[in-house]
């Protein structure tokens, strides 16, 4: 048992089916009479639809139906909503433009669905889609937030003057202004955070089935949170009441945030399945994924960090323009506000912070949470400022950070968050030791001898995970609570089923959740089944995002298993004629402490179900449920150090060394945690060096395939050096902080700080492609 419990690097149970091709994904679902949907999408970034002629398409072979947005309206299918209400600083609510599942009057981004063709096969649907004639009247488009807010810019939604969704602010403006006005030093920077395309390995997919006898719908879909999907489909999109709608998220191949949302395609498949009374499948091709999966980041900020004469931070003032794309996606409003500006204090004691955020519509793909969601933007901003300040002061970047680190906990920042615990010096020490920071000058000299430029960059990130407590997020405008649920069912033979509201799409829950049960009940992980992702099987739950499944999801399981243990102890005490307080459960046995009396766990379970000999008044069975609502966010933090070498002739950056020292609190499975960190760093290096989303001025997405959008590959990455420090999280019973997003949050500033260190040129935008680096080198040389 010892190798299967908490803290052990147990090999992932689920990998057998994934690596042998036995995973069962949405696109694998085969149903009798299945039809295939293909969407007709706008080639224009902004246009009025004058007419849609579907007659030729309807006449084509194998076509079952061709449906358009006007029919959606006719059937009273609701518009897509943003579920987090954010108010402007003047108190007015955010300006949400109508977002129909298929456009019927105006298209606002290249790729927006205008019609759907449903046919016997995928190819017939695709062929018929070419015969749908849409007559557009083109309108002027705008893709850049700075252009979109100018007077005279093309207007996307009548609700939002100057394309502005909200002008939000947080913090004390007058105190911050005063601090900056009286500062000894102010570091000012313009900082861009580049737009990213999420690119989970499995494209989005939906299969909808209608049972006309029961008037019941079933949706299989690539969702990170099937219960939330069902709630939205029922309560807002008018698809079916919850008791007539089952949502199943089977194996899902990666999400990174992009699969949190209910998209137009799922709504249309469900609606169409009922309309034609046949099952309907849609699976995105990679081009559709580029054009329809919610993009991430895309901030333009101006930031000022003020110091006193002793280089202590006294104020931070930020103004950010956040690009929302053409419509407000489900949680889009919260990402550049409560998930971003609340983390601007970083790891530092900053007495005054004021941040304004303008949310702006543009004719681009809608933007929402993507691995990190707001926190990478905050970490990039504050860590670029700190590194730049250290250079301006001629100080070691590590020393400037240490001088300003928060060392007393709990710590109340000026921007809502109360950091519960941490040891920022410990993680910085660990990272600097691991990368041999002191030995860097010698390595730089060795690179210089080869004609290469070497640089080193630090990033000390903090983030907020768990996305809870419900009461707190409710007061900030969230439309849902952010607790989690669990049910632990012990079978009569002692095996265990855990039903969790969390959803695994790569995280390894089937292993880690089983490890928790194994530790508590002393049973092998092979006797534990983790069940998730099906609204008919699992009680309502909130799903997986925001690195919450460990801290929140597993805490719910722990609560449920504690209830199971309590009942099992009562049963065992009764059977062994011992005091309940003396019963211990360990190693697959239930024992009376201090005696040799014991019985196998399985017999306690059996006794619960036979009901032959239970304490008076006890209900039979051994099954308990729990809901866990956390008491605070969790605050994973750490120090990342990147070392790069640049070829000045080509501008190519090679990441030579990358060290991470993370404090995730207690670790459930160090191997899985390390895997999460590896993946996160790879995505962060992708953002820093490779991934650029390029629109033409008229809204055409040029980087819409892997020919033009560079994803990180193994040979772009070094072998990561991963370390952990630990201050257990006091906010949940397992002491877990969450590890899913940290890598993507902490790594971009480390890379850019290293590149700018190597170049001696502080301004370079992400992605730092060879072209940009080369130009930075040559503009510096020209300046000299």
């Amino acid at each position: 048992m010892g190798v299967e419990g908490i803290g052990q690097s147990v090999v992932r149970k689920e990998d057998k089916r994934f690596i042998t091709g036995k995973g069962k994904y949405t696109d694998d679902i085969k149903l009798q009479g299945l039809t295939q949907a293909h969407f007709v999408r706008s080639p224009h970034a902004h246009a009025r639809i004058k007419s849609i002629d579907t007659s030729a398409a309807k006449a084509m072979p194998g076509v079952v139906a061709v449906l358009t947005g006007s029919e959606l309206v006719g059937d009273k299918i609701g518009n897509l909503i943003c579920g987090w209400m954010v108010h402007s600083k003047d108190g007015s609510p955010m300006k949400m433009g109508a977002f129909p599942a298929m456009a019927n009057e105006t298209v606002r981004w290249v790729g927006q669905a205008v019609a759907v063709v449903i046919a016997e096969t995928k190819n017939l649907a695709r062929d018929a889609a070419e015969a749908v004639v849409v007559d557009y009247e083109e309108l002027q488009a705008v893709v850049d937030v700075r252009e979109a807010v100018k007077p005279g810019a093309p207007q996307l939604h009548p609700e939002a003057a100057n394309n502005t969704i909200y002008q939000w602010s947080i913090g004390d403006q007058s105190a911050t202004d005063a601090a900056i006005a009286g500062a000894a030093h102010v570091v000012t920077m313009d900082i861009m955070n580049n737009r990213l395309v999420p690119n989970p390995m499995e494209p989005r997919s939906a299969v909808a089935q209608y049972d006309s006898a029961d008037d019941h719908l079933t949706l299989w879909t690539t969702s990170q949170n099937p219960h939330v999907a069902r709630l939205l489909l029922s309560a807002f999109y008018n698809i079916a009441p919850e008791n007539k709608l089952r949502v199943i998220a089977p194996d899902v191949g990666g999400g990174f945030g992009a699969k949190i949302y209910v998209y137009p395609e799922e709504i249309v498949c469900l609606w169409a399945a009922r309309k034609i009374d046949r099952p309907v499948k849609w699976t995105a091709d990679r081009s559709e994924a580029f054009l329809t999966d919610a993009h991430g980041r895309d901030h333009v900020s101006k930031a000022e960090l003020a110091f006193d004469a002793d280089h202590k931070i006294i104020g931070l003032r930020v103004h950010t323009y956040a690009n929302f794309g053409a419509y407000m996606s489900l949680f889009s409003s919260s990402v550049p506000t409560y998930l971003y500006a609340t983390l601007l204090s970083g790891q530092y004691n900053i007495p005054n912070i004021y941040c304004e955020v303008d949310g702006v519509y543009t004719n681009t793909v809608p933007v929402d949470a993507y691995r990190g969601a707001g926190r990478p933007e905050a970490a990039f901003l504050i860590e670029r400022l700190m590194e730049t300040a250290a250079r301006q002061f001629g100080m070691s970047p590590a020393d400037l950070r240490r001088k300003n680190f928060i060392t007393q906990f709990p710590h109340q920042t000026p921007v809502i968050m109360t950091y519960d615990t941490g040891d920022f010096n410990a993680s910085l020490d660990a990272a600097m030791k691991a990368i041999d920071y002191a030995g860097f000058p010698a390595r730089k000299a060795a690179s210089a001898a080869k004609g290469k430029l070497r640089g080193i960059g630090i990033s000390c990130y903090i983030e907020a995970c768990g996305i809870a407590p419900s009461k707190a997020v409710g007061s900030l405008g969230a439309g849902v609570g952010l607790w989690e649920s669990a049910e632990v069912r012990v079978n009569p033979v002692g095996t265990v089923e855990v039903l969790t509201g969390s959803h695994s799409h790569g995280q390894g829950h089937e292993t880690t959740f089983a490890q928790l049960i194994s530790t508590r009940l002393g049973v092998g992980i092979d006797t534990v089944q983790i069940i998730h992702g099906d609204t008919d099987k699992v009680q309502f739950g909130m799903g997986t995002y925001g690195s919450r499944s460990g801290a929140v999801g597993m805490s719910a399981i722990l609560k449920a298993v504690e209830k199971v243990e309590a009942k099992a102890r009562k049963i065992a005490a009764h059977l062994m004629e011992a005091a309940e307080g003396d019963i211990v459960i360990e190693g697959g046995e239930v024992k009376v402490a201090g005696t040799d009396k014991k019985m196998p766990w399985a017999l306690v379970a059996l006794a619960a179900y036979t009901g032959h000999n239970l304490p008076d008044g006890m209900e039979p069975g051994l099954k308990e449920g729990a809901f866990y609502d956390p008491t605070n966010f969790t605050f994973p933090a750490g120090s990342y150090i990147a070392e790069v070498e640049i070829d000045p002739d080509t501008g190519k950056t090679t990441v030579c060394n990358f060290t991470a020292a993370d404090d995730f609190g207690n670790l459930m499975n160090p191997m899985i945690v390390e895997g999460q960190v590896h993946g996160g760093i790879a995505q962060g290096i992708g953002q820093a060096l490779l991934e650029g989303t390029v629109y033409t001025g008229d809204g055409q997405l040029l980087t819409a395939s892997y020919m033009d959008y560079a994803m990180p590959r193994a040979d772009d990455l070094p072998s990561f050096d991963i370390h952990h420090t630990c201050t257990p999280c006091p906010g949940n019973p397992l002491g877990i902080k969450g590890c899913g997003e940290a890598g993507a949050i902490g790594s971009p500033p480390a890379i850019i700080n290293a590149i700018t260190d190597a170049l001696g040129h502080n301004h370079i935008e992400m992605p730092a492609t060879p072209d940009r680096v080369w130009h930075a080198i040559h503009s510096r040389m020209a300046a000299e």
């Binding site: 706008s42 080639p43 055409q700 040029l702």
Partner: protein, 222 residues
């Protein structure tokens, strides 16, 4: 994307101008052109069947003629719709100059692409569109020269040459390609096709070709 080109056509300017405005000549010159119909004095539509590899598809385009200054110049604006493949549109300034009985045709064309064409084909389209534009002009020159020869009733060498440079109008240093000599299609015959205004193919062919290329790229890649 901007493309420029220069062609020397061994025929009098008036004759080249007439041919440029002759749907029959243009139809012959565009590979795969099935129909070319006037919808007004300055507008027309065309249907082109293109086949590259295993992919065969039909494309439609519209064109409009502006700034007509016969027989010297006009500006044309063309647009092609490729359904799910997106769209291509463009404009071109076409100029004819007389050089001792030989006509020098120059054009500057601009093309804009959208939808799948832009997403997948933007970096492949320039070179292919240029190649196909060259094919068009080679054919056009051959047809016009052949007609001039027939009308003159005597032997006259056809010298179709093209200088096309996709990157810049300053193409004086660009290599001169000799377009393949094409034999005139039998369909051209000696019949005097009606002269009509409004068929600015040299510029219009580029968006259409762009569209064809894009659709094919789209079909292969998806």
């Amino acid at each position: 994307m901007e493309m420029t080109g220069e062609y020397r056509i061994s025929a009098p300017r008036a004759q080249v101008w007439a041919a440029l405005n002759d749907p029959e000549v243009l139809k012959i010159s565009i590979p795969g052109c099935e129909t070319l119909d006037m919808t007004s004095d300055t507008e027309m539509t065309a249907k082109v069947v293109a086949k590259i590899g295993p992919v065969k598809a039909t494309f439609t385009g519209k064109v409009k003629l502006e700034n007509i200054n016969a027989p010297e110049s006009y500006t044309i604006a063309g647009e092609g719709q490729g359904g799910v493949a997106g769209f291509a549109k463009g404009g071109a300034d076409v100029h004819l100059a007389d050089d001792n009985g030989v006509t020098v045709l120059t054009y500057t064309a601009r093309a804009q692409i959208g939808g799948k064409l832009a997403q997948l084909g933007s970096r492949l389209i320039d070179s292919t569109a240029k190649m196909m534009a060259d094919q068009f002009f080679a054919k056009f020159s051959a047809v016009v020269t052949e007609r001039a020869l027939i009308e003159a009733g005597g032997p006259m060498a056809a010298e179709p040459q093209s200088v096309a440079d996709a990157s810049s109008a300053a193409s004086s240093g660009a290599p001169v390609q000799t377009a393949p000599r094409a034999t005139a299609s039998a369909a051209s015959g000696a019949s005097a096709a009606p002269i009509s205004v409004g068929s600015g193919l040299p510029g219009w062919v580029i968006p259409l070709v762009t569209l064809v290329v894009g659709v094919i790229i789209g079909k292969y890649l998806l």
